[in-house]
Assembly symmetry: C2
Homo-oligomer: 500 residues x 2
């Protein structure tokens, strides 16, 4: 490695702290709590966790790992396989780690993404021993310039005993100035968070850490992993179409302006497809106040539809990444990356009046949503930011395809096997079949609209039959408790929800 | 009736609008949407709804009724029995109305109490035709001075086509100056809500309605109904003791100051008993930022323990009401009543860092809470403000007795039959058996702590057995779906959760 990284450590006194990833990892001891950068495969520390996993394979050790959200470069997999993790907070999406969590080998604390650092700050979670933060550079004063995500990095760095900085030479120095680091003030004198629009800049462009707390600096060069979002297909295009039509109608009835209200979209293929759908819509001057800025954000900017986007990370496909970085100076004035506490903060979400589009694993005939648990027991990913957004949204939209596993599973069920979002927090449900507008409806009314509009035709009679028999028994939310979860139980036993 | 009410209508031009309750009710037509004052039996309009119910008994008609929360003076009962209500929003607690809701005769929209006026303002609920607001007086400018509650009155009055004011001569004029009416500004230029402590006064002391919109004024004299809160018993005292001990320990570990953080307590006997428990605690200089100020608030002030209380209503027992009104000038500097949108606002709840104590109907071994549905189907009261508070609390506490119906029901079950609060929003569970601190625990860990600390001894083996068998099957949240709701089904069939 040449020394051409030195200009990225502008605080000259810190240059002597450059060590190898292995040396930095040796600061970490068995039982420690680590706070690591990284949010949906963007901006995670890469070299030190890899070195630590390698060490754990030789000499077994366990740590509690907190991050922003999921990690790229198979780091969750590598650490899980090295049996390094005793506890993982607050989000993950790796199959190997998921397996370990569902086997009870790793204790996973699934949290609303805005809440982790709040709980850390008030000592309701164990304190972070070491923060490991990927950076573009360190400023003259020792401030850390994050890379493609902010996540929980700022609070981890500020609260940790020691900080390890990974300067990633593959992350462009153009990223400097993109970030807006604001930390809520301490109670009892906490003041309002001054964000009043997606464009509001209210904090520092770097994480202001006292330089003496930076214990080690590691140089890395590995790129972020590309996003795994798939192209829109016929069904996701239909979902986008239903939602666009609905929003057009809201505009026509003056319930929304033609630039809508700031958009939030969850991670993944369906939400990305829905945003893509806006390219051919009549809406314009759109803004985004979200967690993850995906390909669709930049496609909307390219199409002249979106004027500003605020998020906590940029997670792109490989071709889009190349395209965006090639003319990043054009995009930069239209972008802000914030701590996830702020991108997801109930206060700001409610103030701005977001239109929130998140993905459901399944929902039930009354509009309760399961975002996390397969068959009510096995963790898929975690609730992520969906709770932060859905509860406080102007419009809380959940999307899913009506069928899964080649039609063996109906995504609309009598009763969800796990509740992440209650009917109180769900305004609009959309599948490729259609859209259910649940605003102002009682449960019995919701059930009729959901079954009529969202369910695949082959499952409709069974749900109508269930509802009909439940209505005979009565109640505000009529159910047949002895049968409510039988579809899931059948799926568990036979691999299909279809009657045996 | 003498004319000694005239000084309560300070805007002289409005004095000619005084009419009888029947005349005022004649402004209301079949199919209208009414927005009425009233929050937990306090400050509801009394004469006009009674006259309207009488009329509906003669000539059937239907209206949509929105209020702050539940009504006193058996108004919900009277209106339900007169078959006047087609739709009821957002809270109720009357047995007759409950029966009509569970029979599907009244469509009940159960909402987070901070959200109703937000949805009204943005035209996501049908517009209010007529607001009916109880008042102490009307100011010189035509402003409405509310009585013992604010609830949704301010927004109803501001948004309605016409306003009927009920001046209640039994409500003391001393109440003037108690209220702080702040309405969030319109989007997209909405600014932060400036409340930074329980004591913050940020609005008007009256509801600023243009006098020409006041269509009728009715004089009434009926008192608020007294609260139905029962005296603490051995079990509620035990719950209070466990929670006090827990908070003492938090103070001892410097996670809380000795004045704690502002308290919120739900409506009802258990929450009231818990607050009473603080009288003999070492905590001092307590403040409250809650919905309903009950007897316990004033008892804590009398004991020199509480220095300030902010709420949306004052709902007292008959003796306490007499006592408080007799020396109201002493209490007034320590009290504010706010719109429920502000008393329950996620922004303020999170900013102030509330300790929130709400009542569960039942909870499950993983910490999900059911606040509303008996056997997953029949509505009890509605979610009220518990969701506004629990999601954004510094500490979210749910309390319940471990047994109901003479031990035939365990309040701790394998899986709740309805979810109002997910495990993500529940930090602490307390029964008379003990307290479960769930912070930072994964579901498998939560289950062990809950079963050990909160379950009645006679139900513990059955829950341990369930958990043990579910763990064999595995998962992040292990369940036996074919059995998860069997306790409730048995209760439905046999009147007891006990094995047949």
């Amino acid at each position: 490695m040449t020394e051409d990284f030195l200009h990225r450590i502008r605080h000259k006194g810190l240059r002597e702290r450059v060590v190898s990833a292995e040396q930095a990892a040796s600061l970490i001891h068995d039982g420690m709590v680590l706070g690591m950068s990284g949010f949906t495969r963007a901006g995670e520390a890469k070299a030190v966790p890899m070195a630590l996993a390698e060490r754990a394979r030789q000499n077994p050790m366990k740590v509690t790992l907190m991050t922003g959200a999921s990690l790229g470069n198979d780091l969750d997999k590598t650490m899980a396989e090295a049996q390094l993790l005793s506890r993982r907070i607050p989000f993950m999406s790796d199959p190997a780690l998921r397996r370990a969590i569902n086997a009870g080998e790793v204790m996973y604390i699934d949290q609303h993404l805005s809440e982790t650092v709040e709980q850390l700050r008030t000592c309701q979670l164990p304190p972070v021993d070491i923060a490991i933060i990927e950076a573009v550079a360190i400023t003259e004063q020792g401030g850390i310039l994050p890379t493609t995500s902010v996540g929980n990095s700022a609070s981890f760095a500020l609260l940790a005993e020691k900080v390890i900085v990974e300067i990633n030479l593959s992350q462009s120095e153009q990223l400097e100035g993109l970030h807006d680091i604001y930390i809520p003030t301490y109670r009892p004198t906490r003041t309002p968070i001054p964000v009043v629009s997606a464009e509001s800049r209210v904090g520092f462009p770097f994480i202001p850490v006292p330089p003496e707390r930076i214990a080690a600096i590691v140089i890395s060069t590995k790129l972020d992993s590309s996003s795994t979002v798939q192209e829109p297909d016929e069904e996701t295009r239909a979902i986008a179409g239903h939602l666009t039509d609905f929003l057009k109608n809201e505009v026509a009835h003056s319930r929304l302006p033609s630039h809508l209200q700031p958009l939030q979209a969850g991670i993944g293929t369906i939400a990305n497809a829905v945003l893509h759908g806006f390219i051919d819509s009549p809406f314009h001057d759109l803004t985004m106040y979200s967690e993850v800025l995906q390909d669709s954000t930049f496609d909307l900017m390219d199409a002249g539809k979106m004027v500003f986007a605020s998020g906590s990370s940029i997670t792109l496909s490989a071709p889009k990444y190349a395209e965006v970085m090639a003319r990043f100076q054009d995009y930069k004035p239209k972008l802000i990356l914030r701590p996830q506490e702020i991108s997801n903060h109930p206060e700001v979400v409610r103030r701005l009046g977001l239109i929130c589009i998140n993905t459901a694993l399944e929902f039930d005939i009354y509009g309760n949503v399961n975002s996390t648990h397969v068959m009510g027991t096995n963790m898929m990913n975690g609730i992520g930011g969906s709770g932060d957004f859905a509860r406080n949204a102007f419009l809380s939209v959940f999307v899913t395809k009506s069928l899964a596993k080649g039609g063996r599973i109906s995504s609309v069920v009598p009763m969800v096997s796990h509740v992440d979002h209650t009917e109180h927090d769900v305004d609009i449900l959309v599948t490729e079949q259609g859209l259910a507008d649940l605003r102002g409806l009682a449960p019995r009314e919701r059930a009729r609209v959901i079954i009529r509009n969202c369910v695949a035709p082959e499952w409709r009679p069974a749900l109508e039959d269930y509802l009909g028999r439940a209505l005979v028994r009565g109640g505000h939310t009529p159910h047949l408790l002895e049968e409510a979860l039988s579809w899931h139980d059948r799926l568990r036993r036979t691999g299909s929800m279809r009657p045996e």
